[in-house]
Subunit: 355 residues, 2 copies
């Protein structure tokens, strides 16, 4: 979901090879990790020639017509189009709704741009549109403008979708990583790694004892519940591509603080842990689609956590760590055995086309 905007020194640390040494785009450039950041920071933003990197995030905050709006865009190229617990239509609505929610905005209106591949079944398009419509109703957002393009067979993959969204940010809400300070508590809204494992299990035709379904969901209501405790939350992120590790690293880099995570406190459902162990994946790096991570002032942390747990989409919420003045820009995990490991920014994405 992210064009990451980690600080340049972070990028040179994560990826010493200058991008121009890679003459061509590789899959990892779309993975939401260090390669994605490099492409955006070194190629796209200099080309655009305009905004400061910090301005080109998941969700921009803009003033328009006297209102403070969140404005966000995402393209969806997930494979397969339908997977346990959801579809590209659900992702396309919830992905953008959630990006807006991470700015504190309740999504009001969505656009929908379809790129169809010649030869895709009309019934598939219909099923995707129905999924979009159902997800929009569930999220309380209206699709008000659209566009359809068709490309020749062999230049697409069935259906790609872009959605963009706008919503109003309530007065007093100012969510950005620069507000994070030592002492902040790190909360997650529930189990991590579920979406990525659900996609992969379908793609690779893996069978588990219990089918793992995507957690894809709209987070606007959960965020409203959290903000009703206090508008003074510091930052929210939905840890999609690159997983929780990428979100924590982005926030650490942008805030100039260190983040310490208690590994045992991170909720990973046993079936996800098992699947990850079998496949050599780290759940910290696996994409989520219906979860958020919040950096909250210590004095409000208990009340915000309670509000999250009282919401259906936050029943599995947990405090997983804190912000420290040490090791600025770096995320470390305390392991169950009392050790410490660095949780670094992933290079690419363990699973391509996860959203």
């Amino acid at each position: 979901m992210s064009d990451t905007t980690a600080a340049p020194d972070m990028l040179s640390w994560s990826c010493p090879a200058p991008l121009r040494d890679r003459p061509r785009v590789v899959m990892g450039h779309g993975g939401g990790g260090a390669l994605s950041a490099e492409l955006v920071e070194q190629v796209v933003l200099p080309g655009l020639g305009g905004p400061a990197p910090a301005a080109l995030t998941d969700s921009a905050v803009v003033e328009l017509g006297g209102a403070r709006l969140a404005f966000s865009t995402d393209s969806f190229v997930v494979r397969p189009l339908f997977f346990p617990g959801g579809s590209i239509g659900d992702l396309a609505v919830n992905g953008t709704v959630n990006d807006l929610a991470m700015s504190g905005a309740r999504a009001a209106y969505l656009s929908c741009g379809l790129i169809l591949e010649e030869g895709v079944e009309i019934d598939t398009v219909a099923r995707v549109a129905e999924a979009l419509g159902g997800a929009a109703r569930a999220a309380g957002v209206r699709v008000v403008t659209g566009d359809t393009k068709v490309v020749e067979s062999g230049h697409g993959d069935g259906v790609y979708i872009n959605t963009s969204g706008i919503g109003v940010i309530p007065a007093g809400v100012d969510l950005r990583p620069e507000r994070v300070v030592p002492g902040d508590v790190v909360l997650v809204s529930g189990a991590i790694g579920v979406h990525g494992v659900a996609i992969m299990s379908r793609r690779e035709n893996l069978r588990f004892e219990v089918e793992i379904e995507s957690d894809c969901a709209p987070l606007g209501g959960l965020v409203e519940a959290m903000l009703s405790v206090t508008p003074d939350l510091h930052v929210l992120r939905d840890p999609t591509r690159g997983g929780l590790a990428a979100s924590l690293n982005e926030i650490a880099a942008a805030s100039g603080c260190g983040v310490v995570v208690q590994e045992r406190a991170v909720p990973v459902p046993p079936p996800v842990a098992g699947a990850c162990a079998m496949l050599g994946l780290d759940p910290m790096y696996v994409a989520n689609e219906g979860k958020l991570v919040a950096f909250v002032p210590r004095e409000h942390a208990d009340a915000v956590l309670a509000a999250m747990r009282a919401h259906p989409l936050g029943s599995g919420a947990a405090a997983i760590g804190e912000v420290v003045p040490e090791h600025p820009g770096m995320v470390v995990a305390r392991t169950g055995l009392g050790g410490t490991r660095v949780v670094d920014l992933p290079m690419g994405e363990q699973l391509p086309r996860i959203c």
Copy 2:
């Protein structure tokens, strides 16, 4: 640029075969003509299950935070990426800026979603980003939020771009086809058919005595100049996919009026006319990217035309026809020899992937 929204009886007239008889998407479904309309009306909108068809147009008008905003989206899949007079980057900015302008809004902010194909040269991405940045500066709009996805080689075509945009609609401006009445004068801002012929000449490696360059341009300033004469313009359209013929048919259908065009008054540059004659194309159906068509109350038509001609992007403006109570929903052209022909809604697009 359009998901056309012609009335259902129009569609059944243009395309007697029910869509469900075509099990798969064909290129024409992206052409902006009757097939596109059919897909949107019969598959996408019923799937979405929500808004009235008239609400799903190029540019939605929404109330948000107390302001009246235009909100629009477009995906760009033009081939080749660079062509005489422009590139996919210019199209991506001007296409969305112009959709907003057709609602009377000056574009304020754009989003940019890139879908890159694995293997595309990084330098190509850089050139596209530079074109985007240059076009945004020329149009006075800021790209504030973005997203990058990568798909495997063979599932894209170098670079696809989605842009969405928002802008404020000035008070008193209410542009929609339902406001068109008999007596309205039809104005175009200049020569038609230029963009389509420019793309095709590059794609097919055709050589003309004078190279024909795309007319791709941002129309916000021209629209401002027109609205400064009177906010009471009835409707504006940028005749992109499907050309002038598609725009006139959409307006005729939605207004329930007839449109009469004086064929000799429609500005077609001789090189475009020559290329079209050679290739068997009708310039009325060829895509434009920097032109608009306006339906204007008769009492304001001369003053609006003068304001258009005083603007650099309207120097070739002309009155080409009028609205009549006869043949509701139908567009007819008076030929140079005094005859009459029906200008119907194209089925698809003569040239696929024109934008």
